[in-house]
Amino acid sequence: MKFGVVRFPGSCDDIDALQAAARVGDAVLLWHADHDLQGVDAVIVPGGFSYGDYLRPGAIARFAPVMAEVEEFGREGGLVLGICNGFQVLCEAGLLPGALLPNVSLKFVFRQVEVEVVSTTGPFTGACGVADRLSIPVKHTTGRYYAPEAELDRLEAAGQVLLRYAPGHNPNGSLRDVAGVCNERGNVFGLMPHPEHAVDPLGGSTDGLRIFESMRAHVEQHVLA
């Protein structure tokens, strides 16, 4: 099982994502300017401020050369995980529904939050139980999940909302407490909390590991088997 972590100019959580992935498999960095995914089994688009977040977070990064490969990989069913800025990039690229807006508080938030697992049928939460609570940090200014009401209804009915902020833990005003959503096929997932920052007891929680473990289990059972 080999993870690839994209590095854009301005990425800052790429190394944490690389080290988190390396706890459950092999992991390599993917350079934004290369049209090459190096044969990885899963792609992680990490947090940070890709291309300075100019215009809108993720708006420029989605046109990076490597993103053409990531989009094709995702269309073919490959696992793509977007964390924070990576979530914004995947929404801008149209790989995920919705958009991320400035926090209602207009402030940067950096705190540990609890998220509830809504669905465990897909590749990203298979190692969790429904209604499990994961303690994972958020740190962002533009994390308010938005989609039109009818789209939110559709996403909930289709089981595409995988994670919700637990009651009282919504840090940004996300509609319906959405913390993470996947695409219709279930192979592309984005979330604002940072599972790669919750993998070592020293950091206070290892709950984030379960996302990476879920991905590994899925790839081992469905791709490498």
Binding site: A59, E92, L101
Partner: protein, 92 residues
């Protein structure tokens, strides 16, 4: 061709930036102000203004959350003067 693209948050989407400005104005004595929204202005010189809508749809705005309005003008100077004309009495 000089053009301006006015980008606004879509109607109905919560705009905390506009709300913050709306709350701040009365504190300075500017009463009677409502429906404040904060957007973005993009100015650009463009050879083929016919391509502006596509630029707006693909990069300059996110059509899911933003509306845009394209204001074209022959030169930057006339944009400046038309902006002045919209705001009579503004001292420069």
């Amino acid at each position: 061709m000089r053009a301006r693209v006015l980008v606004r948050p879509k109607a109905g989407i919560l705009d905390p930036q506009g709300q913050a400005v709306e709350r701040a104005l009365p504190a300075l004595g500017f009463d009677g102000v409502r429906n404040v929204h904060v957007g973005r202005l993009i100015e650009l010189d463009v050879d083929d203004p016919g391509r502006l809508p596509e630029m707006c749809e693909r990069l300059l705005t996110n059509p899911l959350i933003e509306d845009y309005e394209i204001v074209e003008s022959a030169s930057a100077d006339s944009i400046g003067s038309s902006a002045g004309a919209e705001l009579p009495g503004v001292s420069r």
